[in-house]
Symmetry: C2
Subunit: 491 residues, 2 copies
Amino acid sequence: MSAYDELMAFSRETQALGQILGRLGWDQETVMPSGAAPQRGEEMAALESVLHARRSDPRVGDWLEAVDTAALDAVGKAQIREIRRAFERANKVPGALAARIARVTSEAQGKWAASRADEDVAAFLPVLEEVVMLKRDEGAALASDGDIYDAMLDDYEPGMTGARLDEIFGDMRPALVELRAAVLERPAPTGLSGSFDESAQMRLTREVAKVFGYDMKHGRVDKAVHPFSSGSGLDVRITTRTSATDPFNCLYSTIHEVGHASYEQGIDPAYLLTPLGRGVSMGVHESQSRIYENQLGRSKAFCGWLFGRMSESFGDLGVADAKGFYAAVNKVDRGFIRTEADEVQYNLHIMLRLDLERQLMRGEIGVVDLEEAWNTRFAADFGYAVDRPSNGVLQDVHWSVGLFGYFPTYALGNVYAGCLHEALRMAVPELDGQLAAGDLGPATTWLRENLQQHGGLYAPAEVIERASGQAPSVAPLLSYLQTKFGGLYDL
Amino acid sequence: MSAYDELMAFSRETQALGQILGRLGWDQETVMPSGAAPQRGEEMAALESVLHARRSDPRVGDWLEAVDTAALDAVGKAQIREIRRAFERANKVPGALAARIARVTSEAQGKWAASRADEDVAAFLPVLEEVVMLKRDEGAALASDGDIYDAMLDDYEPGMTGARLDEIFGDMRPALVELRAAVLERPAPTGLSGSFDESAQMRLTREVAKVFGYDMKHGRVDKAVHPFSSGSGLDVRITTRTSATDPFNCLYSTIHEVGHASYEQGIDPAYLLTPLGRGVSMGVHESQSRIYENQLGRSKAFCGWLFGRMSESFGDLGVADAKGFYAAVNKVDRGFIRTEADEVQYNLHIMLRLDLERQLMRGEIGVVDLEEAWNTRFAADFGYAVDRPSNGVLQDVHWSVGLFGYFPTYALGNVYAGCLHEALRMAVPELDGQLAAGDLGPATTWLRENLQQHGGLYAPAEVIERASGQAPSVAPLLSYLQTKFGGLYDL
């Protein structure tokens, strides 16, 4: 066997073990007996430790040196690029630090949940302090002489930097603030009301998942507290949740997760269990969940179809017609919670988090300052005061589990989705007619062929540019939002 | 850290990884999407290979040498005994052979299922030939100079030998043959008839599982094609199946699996994720499933309670009263299938398999002779001819997956259950009154305290002797069967 073949065989086993870790996470959130948690913690830690040892295995370094990269084709070069990235990362972070982070964040997540339930920021701060210190150590190890926050970003969105984010968000912010102000001056549309049987919601949600191209032979839909998509290759499962009063929660969580899952399911089967057999970055992943959920799922045309199906399933929805339904789906309102935010306001939530977490990581503010910094910034950005910590600094799980540098990828996903949507509209001029008939086939096929199939082959900005025909920029997203909400709110 | 502590820490991670393998097996049989199978195969092979490397890791040998075993308490000594056994076994079998067996048996299982469906023995023989050759190689490696079949038995029932099995089965056979002949001369009782809603079966089966002490906080009950129990420690799941015409299939599968699961759930929590934190052998495991299913679950007293609950759930059962119900539960009938056999005939099925598989392993017969050998033996033992391969040599999955030496543990479990039941009756004289009230508490508590809690602490024969107060023998089982079926059939 050549060094390349040996390396790929070793990597394939590592990928397979990584998939198992994802499967254990799915099990924990869906079917695991409640009393099994301590044992599951040890099982996952044991597997994590096996994975860390394999990622930093000196043999990987030897193989990487021995491989004649110049002789490889584009796919082989990309495989080596990804293996090298993982190897270098694993060797930069000491094993003891990685293990400590795993242990502390696991504990911190529980403390965050309890503190949020109790509205008690002070109870959360000591463990958050520890997480921040550990993540700063990790960031310093990863950054070498560079910027610590850039090193963290690179983990989730290879190639992205804080400076580039500042440009992107700087371009976006004034337009979003202006659009929001205009929309909030107009009368608010009526929301849904009615009776929404939860098993009927699950039946409809599975139907909608299939309509969006989700492949049930290689996946399944279950209920969990938090919706997520899990796994790559031949087993990509999603979860959703139901609310007796808000059927959109279930349906749009499903469509969002189907976007993530379709990306994984759509990757070239030749990349199965290789480093290229996964979505290339969190931002590109989010571009798929967002375009499924928003540009397609919340379009006027698709809302027409969905209004019909929901009326059949639930009877009177409390809105007069498809037009009222479309307005309800896209209602813009005051609110505190990022995950409930509409398309106009969502990215403003991200900007707040980016600035605060970058300051934390750079040591410009301490965790003790975090709540006041959040509340001050929120009031400035949104115009009203945070009423309680669970609506403010305690609302998101991310920092408790050490996800610094992750939030910006949500906004990048929106930006990328804007670019892809513009190109999709040009490539499929009949799109609205198809969406109105509940036919997502041409749209999802276009996404599969132009983006999803490539998996990790191209860098994030490159795959967006290849699919959309232009370097990523905020212009398409802003133009889409201005047109859509201008129409909805008679601006 | 002492060598003992280091060894136990390493072993604990290995145990945790082993639990993950069990969890993947559960997932595969219950919730896995159908198209995920090839990927799952690679995931499990990767984890198997990690486990094999850990079990044969030279550091384990170093630690075993460094440990001052004489200074350890009984628990420590038993831990070392189990770790040494696994280490020596792993080092006797070359890694390449173990990997080959894993691959070939995985393929053979699929071919067996297809051949059984097609009633085509010839299609199965080539891969079975390969499995047999590989398992003989493995057996030779394990046996050193000893008997190859004894070495295989030792894998499932440490300390057991073919010679001892011959004694046990020799003691049992004439009495069982005589009892069967007498019973089959009497009129057969009426079976159940009625309408058995499958969700009502699942509701009742979960209730019955709890009645038998199954802990739902550390387990769950699902449907699968084949009933099984999976996992140790804090997460022990069971599966069952339903048949619209035969509610006993679901209920007694559940009670059987609850016996296995209760053993695992009942082990001293101090042994969690250690080599002692699992049932000590397949035979002792089967003693628990059998005593739950048969001596308790098919007792006249418990049948009285179950008749009431089933009548409430399903209405008319087609039997006149509790006595008729008890007779239906324990109906003895002609049949070909081991898993459907009654208490009188079950062990005769095992004797047939023991003799054939031992001849195969010793090279006394070839796989090409197997079908004829099976059919000849079956006709001699049961008095009627096998009508098709799925009722004969193709009925069990075991040989396809390389389980040679496993079948006898089913019969040993019956023998052990007989010993335990005799002791239980003496220790809990009010047992029948409790069973008649659906109160399994005192019986399952006695089993937990006298047997289950010890996990792997004592060798199989020792733990049975400690619990029952006598060395294992067939006398209690035979006496129990003669009394029970003598009464049922007016002998």
